[in-house]
Amino acid sequence: MIGRARRRAALAVALWIVVGALVALAGRRYGHRLDLTRDGRHSLAPVTLERLGALTAPVEARAFLPSAAPPPFDRVAAATRDVLEDMVDASDGRVRLVVRDPTDPDLAPDERAALEAEAERLGLRPVALQALDADRRVVQQTVMGVVWLASDRVAVARAAERVADVEHGLVRALDALRGARTQPVIGVTTGHGEPPVLDGPLADVLGSAGRLEAITLAPDRVPPHVDLLLMVAPRRPLEPRARFVLDQFLLEGKALVVVADFVDRSPLFPDVLVPVATGLEPVLAAAGLDLAADRLVLDRAHPAPAIVGLDAAGRPARADHPLFPVATDLAEHPVTAGLRTLVVPLAVPIDASRAIAAGHAVSPLVRTAPSSVARRGLRSFDPAAARAPAPADELPGPHTVAIALRGSWDSAFADADIPPRPADAPLDARTGAPDPPPLRRAVGPARVVLVTSGARFLAAHTDALLMLQNAVDWALDDAELTALRGRRADDPPLDATDASTRLWVRLGNIAGPPLLCLLWALIRLGRRRRRDRR
């Protein structure tokens, strides 16, 4: 009798475990997904669904996703897998997903080497995933990314830096696979004191937008296969020949993205502000953009922290600095899609009234707050100097410090002598031919994105890199995909709060509910006692 009861109990235990497993498996088999976010940012965008619908033949997504990647790459790997699984579900069987895990602990060394060789053969280079582990920086070398495969064609989506870029990178690579797009070439200017973009983290960030190539602006013309020139924080002025080359590049209907400082701290005397001569002003003036390079935008009401010196222990000392204004007035534009706040250190105002009058499509991308002013003649980096009002030298805000422009214009050298080639380089080193005839008038509309705050702008806020990526995409006429990236940006920012508000928020939330519970318990206890007495 007892033995039978035990057998029955064991059977029942097994049965209930099987029932639980079946419920979970049924959920996996007939899964349904409901995205409750406001803009559906965790669901595939319409443009992605449209691309998947346009597939005429099966394609394979071979994903190399390390399961043991350090943060934040673990989130990127998980998001990549999520997006790919969504694409498989939405593709009516036209997308097949194969996932390889290069950090699988069960892989033997030769299997891991074979997997990495396969990734490299398909065009996926190993990446160094850097992460902070407590107080040290950890670098993990692995392969990460997705390769789209269709019959004899291959397109690579390199590892995204942020979750926001995942769907964008995958769709762009899918476009390349379908032959809907040739990979654009982004020329990164060198030779005028720019930081080494091609060797730095910016190369990884911009790599998904196109192939990066170093370009020297003189003496030869920019090669015709370059679609866009990116100029980041030049420190030496463009000489006349380089200005002419840039001018001709824009007249050909190409694109330019400039993130440049026009004022900076002196390398010798860091408390002194000195002008940075870029030599860009005449080229920009031809497009109708005038810079007030003798003025600096400062905002005493909305300052961001800046390193202002060293404290007694030799550590960087930070203070809110009016010359690091926080800008929240961002345009509804693909370049600023999904962005909410930017910090624009040492920016100078842009006057686009001539460009607007000329009929160009002008979008002021970033404007500082109405409380900001454009101050003339400020030569000290000391925050106290910027905090002291100087009404006679200040123009009230808001001020435009980043702008997007599209249009056609006359050459900056239309009425001037064309700078000749140097005597020691009479022919184009690439083609071996003399220069083509100079253009006096644009042959197609050019696109320009200008930000008048350079290296510090890119370092001041994480959204600045996103804006740079968006600017490159927009300049490459890729606004549809830019909007896709903006959709998956971060959560919106909190409104500004003062210390007392923050204290009351903490106290109210931590102590409030327990006190209410105590009150409720006392009321119930009182009622019970009254009832018991009755």
Binding site: A12, D491, I510
Partner: protein
């Protein structure tokens, strides 16, 4: 007598004890202390409830066994279980009723945390979709924890033992998702599939996925079924 009547009796009984108020208040205070105190909420400056949904699953491993520990263990200790068996009530209705009652108390504990999203919404443009998804996912997660707690309570007549066993089970399911990379491939895959933390991630970001929620439901069904068998088995002792 139905399972709902048992559940109502369970909730009334719990609210006559100071422990329920203590647990509800502690849950709200702990989660708020994490969001607005330990987490750099104001430094990050984002109108989001992610910190709450990061921390709440862990606190739930402490809360759920405490809410469930007295459900069956106390009835066994005081002999009420034998009395209940004399009523026209099946074992399944009894156990399910106890579970639903504990779930009601857990819903009360979640309601006590509503000042957190209301505060965040007052401080910035909070997207309520992820909040709704997160709360639904959290209730499902706590439901699975409560079922494990009821199972632990069915196995013993001591509330303390029931709490310790229940916490062990809940924490095991919470941690198991993190341990899967250390396990051999097939086992690691299975373990990853039932890890509660990973299952809750999508709900916390505002995506309700039945593939995740049914894992919680599956665990709850299995645990309640086992609890029914455990209560029935005592009949033969």
């Amino acid at each position: 007598m139905s399972a709902l009547a048992v559940a109502a009796r369970e909730v009334r009984g719990a609210l006559n004890q100071p422990l329920a108020f203590l647990l509800v208040g502690a849950f709200a205070a702990l989660t708020a202390a994490y969001v607005f105190g330990l987490h750099p909420f104001f430094v990050e400056g984002r109108a989001t409830l992610r910190p709450f949904f990061e921390f709440a699953p862990f606190v739930s491993t402490l809360l759920a066994p405490a809410l469930a520990m007295r459900s069956l263990a106390e009835e066994q200790r005081t002999g009420q279980l034998d009395l209940l068996r004399s009523w026209p009530l099946s074992t399944a209705a009894l156990v399910v009723g106890k579970f639903v009652g504990a779930l009601g108390l857990a819903a009360l504990a979640l309601a006590a945390t509503l000042p957190i999203p209301l505060t965040v919404a007052a401080l910035g443009p909070l997207d309520w979709g992820p909040v709704l998804g997160g709360y639904v996912g959290l209730l499902a997660l706590i439901g699975a924890y409560l079922a494990l707690g009821v199972l632990a309570s069915a196995l013993t007549s001591s509330q303390v033992v029931a709490y310790v066993v229940g916490f062990g089970l809940c924490f095991g399911f919470y941690l198991v998702g993190r341990a899967h990379p250390l396990l051999p491939a097939p086992l690691g895959g299975w373990v990853a599939a039932i890890g509660f933390e990973a299952r809750f991630t999508s709900a916390a970001r505002g995506v309700l996925d039945t593939r995740d929620l049914t894992v919680f439901v599956g665990v709850a069904v299995a645990a309640i079924g086992l609890a029914i068998e455990a209560v029935d088995a005592r009949r033969w002792r």
